[in-house]
Symmetry: C2
Subunit: 214 residues, 2 copies
């Protein structure tokens, strides 16, 4: 049974990215905070290979979890801002290797990348994107890749079955909060697993009362 | 070596209590959200005995952790609001059984309760309260009991050595955030431990560069 899930790195105070950049703020500050949050990821071999960051990297538990998350994913969905951020930063061989559905107002034909990633631009809402992703996922799971707003829309609509959080030992004070605006009367979760690792804590949750796809 | 620590239950979105009650909001809503957050605590034998809530309760890992936290504590420090909330709700035999230092502007003599809890009211700031707590703790650790604001003051002042969080699978959307206002340029943490339990995840952190007491 195919699942809809999300998987993000979150700071201990609930942020998945630093505060959006002000025009007068040097990009380095934003980037260094983000790198601090994601530090463990950049040290994993699987991630380094995916993003063409060079040889080497850890091959332990953190790496295995990243690889499992990639392998279960048959299609991804992302918001426009996440796509815009990645469009010029991902390597030519974008790291998805599956169809990716971008929630956007922009009308644009599919954008095919070497290595199997095809970006499809969806203009008619989250449910349409999910239907298309399900058709394209070949029975594997569908990842709501981000950003926070896209994840929240799917979560509040009862369409996310489960999510995992890599809880990073970082405090932002301010930032883009994953659950800001969550409808707590509708979204109820249970813990499935917590795995300790020296750099990050891997937490898995299931969401109650969500749609199950045969 | 005596440590300064805090130990709280936090929602997955970083809150340790629901949003403060509005005047037109029934107390039941606040209370039911808070009970949802603290659900696992009310099922533990140690807590039930401490608060005189009646017989029975779990005696497993969650209970052991609560008991260890109590046993390591030689003195507690709390904010005025936490004291005000507890003053009329704790049983006569207040659940601390040690000296408790209350940060307040109120001038008031010590308030001794049956069972060894003595509340001392401190008017000259967090460092004075900590000195007094250390003198009273008999070599055991000092707990910054809460609320969020008291914990944050000690954290930002570099006076908290370590903290534990029982991460509850609950989303508040809005609420009193533990780390709201944290000075992220000063407070840097590492994970020590993550323990999975079906109702809550027990996370332990150490804070870098804090004061060590001989």
């Amino acid at each position: 049974m195919s699942k809809v899930f999300s998987s993000v790195t979150m700071s201990l105070d609930g942020c998945i990215a630093p505060e959006f950049m002000q025009l007068d703020q040097p990009a380095e500050i934003w980037l260094s905070q983000w790198m601090e949050l994601q530090k463990y990821v950049f040290q994993q071999r699987f991630f380094r290979e995916s993003l063409k960051l060079g040889e080497g990297g850890e091959t332990g538990q953190d790496n295995r979890i990243l690889e499992e998350t990639f392998n279960r994913t048959g299609a991804s969905i992302m918001g426009k801002r996440m796509f815009d951020g990645g469009e010029h930063n991902w390597p030519d061989e974008a790291p998805f290797h599956t169809p990716v559905f971008v929630l956007t107002k922009e009308v644009r034909g599919p954008w095919e990348r070497p290595g199997g990633t095809v970006f499809h631009f969806v203009n008619d809402g989250i449910e349409s994107a999910l239907r298309q992703a399900r058709d394209a996922a070949g029975g594997r799971d569908i990842r709501i890749a981000g950003g926070a707003n896209a994840i929240l829309q799917y979560l509040n609509a009862g369409l996310v079955n489960e999510f995992s959080i890599a809880l990073s030992p970082v405090l932002f004070g301010n930032g883009l909060r994953l659950f800001d605006g969550v409808d707590q009367s509708r979204v109820s979760v249970d813990i499935v697993q917590a795995i300790h690792s020296p750099m990050v804590t891997h937490l898995s949750y299931v969401v109650s009362g969500t749609c199950q796809w045969e």
